[in-house]
Symmetry: C4
Subunit: 312 residues, 4 copies
């Protein structure tokens, strides 16, 4: 059961004046819904952050383009310094000459250095020495970035597409959502905190309340976890129906915290469901499956499966 019975927007870190009635605080991707302008004045582009968080295909494309562009530049330098700077088969025309310069550049930058093309002047020798040095540094950088990308933590929780309002027990309904770790990492000491935010017509501002949960901590997060907020009298959505929740622009804000035993580090995640993403009068279908091998079997495709159920 969550300790703090009530909270407000500043406790969560969102000023009350910064957003209008319909502003969502947390995106479904777990990001803060905030745009910071004028940041470049302070820190410029956070190049490192960009490089390790962009998609792999973009990253590979980027370094390929950089490699190509760098070789073009060096090719121009060699080409401009004259064909006689590079020993090897003589080029027939300007195009051949430039291509020869380009291939000499790639063979230098990658340090493959076949030798069928080789520097034949002091200028080309010096530039080639610099280029091979630069090439090695560039690949050193790429190596570091690749490792950083690999070891970068990823979001590995899958939440049910909808939160649901389901019959709970003792004439109480519950707000529920379900999630599971989609990686093979072992998560332990998992904790969840839930706050409900809504627009108060009377006070003309957003109200935030931390809400009680049936259980907010588990030791081993090995299977799916269905979090239940019992909608009793203390709940900010007690007595409301679906239409009223939509009218009040209810947002369910979820903070998750656990320890990833495989990568040996804490794991945090955030999620939010706005009122349109809450389904009323359904229950979650079970995810476990019978089996003969005495292991616990979970079918992840059923994560968002629900069936109809009469509310109290």
């Amino acid at each position: 059961m969550a300790k703090k019975e009530q909270t407000n927007s500043s406790e969560l870190g969102f000023g009350q004046k910064n957003y209008n009635r319909r502003t969502r605080l947390i995106t479904q991707g777990g990001e803060f819904n905030v745009v910071k302008e004028g940041m470049s004045r302070f820190q410029g582009l956070d190049v490192y952050h960009e490089l390790i968080s962009m998609k792999w295909h973009k990253f590979i494309a980027l370094i390929t383009v950089l490699f190509f562009a760098a070789n073009l530049i060096f090719a121009f330098i060699y080409f401009a310094s004259g064909a006689e700077g590079i020993a090897g088969p003589s080029p027939d025309n300007k195009i051949e000459d430039f291509l020869r310069s380009f291939y000499f550049s790639t063979q230098t930058m990658t340090t493959v250095g076949f030798g069928q093309l080789s520097p034949d002047s002091n200028f080309v020798s010096a530039v080639a020495a610099f280029e091979s040095f630069l090439g090695l540094l560039g690949f050193a950088l790429a190596t570091g970035l690749m490792f950083a990308r690999f070891s970068r933590p990823r979001r590995n929780l899958e939440f049910s597409q909808n939160a649901i309002i389901a019959p709970y027990r003792n004439n109480l309904n519950g707000l529920m959502f379900r999630f599971i770790s989609s990686s093979r990492n072992q998560l332990i000491e998992a904790e969840v905190d839930v706050a409900i935010s809504y627009w108060s017509e009377e006070e003309d501002k957003r109200i935030f309340k931390a809400v009680n949960l049936e259980r907010n901590k588990i030791n081993f997060f090995s299977t799916s976890w269905t979090v239940v907020h019992p909608i009793d009298e203390k709940s900010p959505i007690h007595g409301l129906d679906e239409a009223e929740c939509n009218k009040r622009n209810v947002e369910v804000i979820i903070s998750f915290k656990a320890f990833d035993d495989t990568y040996v580090r804490p794991v945090y995640d955030r999620m939010s469901y706005v009122s349109e993403e809450i389904k009323w009068g359904v229950k979650f279908a079970p995810m476990y499956e019978a089996s003969d091998d005495e292991k616990i079997h979970i079918n992840m495709e059923k994560l968002s499966s629900t069936y109809e159920a009469m509310l109290y």
Copy 2:
């Protein structure tokens, strides 16, 4: 002494309906005994996890095979483009020609580039430029993975093969197990939590209880640690004998937590003993050994040694 006197399956994170009577929750290797199906839909294969957790000989074999396969592909490309694309000694036949293409490829990919074989057409020059670039990226990747493998935490606790029921004190027996860190890392602030799970015939479900320990925390985990659960009236196995424990499918679930001062990170581990792995009426043999050098000597081979002892 553990604070919480009682727990249940959902607190540990295992739903009560997900397993049958004989399902083990934790394997002796410390893994959750859970299979997640349909994961590929969510995240595909967790390639990184596979690459850093596979055995070293498999990892080395895999990248060797990848290196060979990639060179085969490039060899085919060079071979298909005609023997005249590569300068060097002329091949006598198709096989020699292909081998020449293959060796040219390896010399390009590893950037060794002897030059006795060298590109002699624009097509081969371009492909070779690309191949050497690819080679460097590949080795950059391998470098990152090797470091990740090296720095990956390993399981470094050795538990006694069996938990034991031994005479403890004041007419009490105790459930005991013993473990030691098998690495040279210095573990500090070590904590252990134990829960006992059993099948309740009356309630037709698994019951979980966190149990009291004689001591659940030590400052320096420098030698072996024998954890003792005194089987007093509060214990879920109080009054049971070996046969009854087997009948109830008792499982002793252990969580370990410490701080690794050498690698500067927290260390977690899990372990479980099922009833068949509990030995009754024995005591652990001492592990320390006399010596002249004023150091504390521990013989790790005696970790699971026991001798007979009369129970109360």
Copy 3:
């Protein structure tokens, strides 16, 4: 609200005798204002620390110089051993000979090895073998350092240039400052602690007091955070005016702590405002901006913007 109502200098870790009246404890850059002499006897230069904390342009310059210097040394060795040790086009004069040795060295150290220059004596062969080995190790080292530099945490908080004394509420003024994270990292569970230090004429020493804050913890540090210390009777600056604060050499010492969810690690920062950096009778101008896209917009250029306000 901060728990501890009072503190002193030894609690903060600054002995009371170590500084004179005007010594600042924390620089605006967040560093301790301490010089340790005679350290070299203990640990020598902390080379690693230097290498990963120097500016990028210095780092690049340094390894370029090292590369150049190392090649000069090897060039001298080859040159001294005689021109006939290197096969290739014969040099016309001593200068050409030395340059040839230098280029041979660069081609060896970067492992580009074109082959137009190649070792032609046992001595040169052996030195070249060693040089290429050294080159690879050097670039291995550079790779490691680059990654360490990249992954090194940076200071990413921007504080308002001045702390301010502004009207707060209920006839109370408040000491306020404002800060924001200038990176795209998501900071969560942010905490701030504030102590006020001043020179006591009566006691002839510095006094330190931890002071109350309107709020000292927020869950999501997504926008700017204005920290408020209400100047009530318990405040060490209650009843003082600007001149008196200057006379007492007031210093506001700030400790910040949060968890960086992007890089998965804790973040700490320190900051201090001395009395000359406190502006009296102003309020912070709002930073949020209206927008149509239902996101929260913050203009970081307004971080230090204030406007005049009558104090109570």
Copy 4:
């Protein structure tokens, strides 16, 4: 002030039976004074640990030897396969032939590949392909290890050579020791715990007691820290003189904990003073020095300086 007033050996993690009267628990280097025998059966040599913790000059020597040895092996293979497998200047005799094989091997393994020596048979081509592949992997490994060595935390506390018994206040003497961080890292939230252990003649075993400290936590560990244990009636060494402390084999066991703000990780350290390392009737000389630049100046060479002082 430390919370727990009393502790015992099992709480610290040292069994009471494992050592004799004069066994020291913690070495001055901060290591557990424990030898684990028979470990090889469990985990073999912890190669990684060895490789990242050996001295730099040994590490460099080791990989140089490995590089040399690997090239010797490949040289033998090339040599055994016949001189005609390698194209290039013909060797005059067997020794020249072997050296040629050796240099060909180094040029292959480092991927420098000048080409004056090049593979001239299928066998040599295949072996060379494998060797260059191996070379790259080896240097990838070395890169990973270098980074691991660099980023490995080091012990960076310097303790005074002796603990001292000095006059404290109000007719009380105090047990004191002093330490300082010898690196430039900023340590914050530093905590220290002290236990005193001694041999009890009456009980014929070692007794352990956690003792009170004047202060056991500071926010910024920026200068030196003198830890004081007031020897009041609760102290286990109350009323004892130097001879009696020696007779009882007193050991002062110190645990240190802080957060390293530069490398963003917790820092732990241990230290112990045995009775022979405790000086009676002296005080620590001040370490701070006057200066003009309004910074706090600390002279680390005075860390262990003391002067005579009359005890109460």
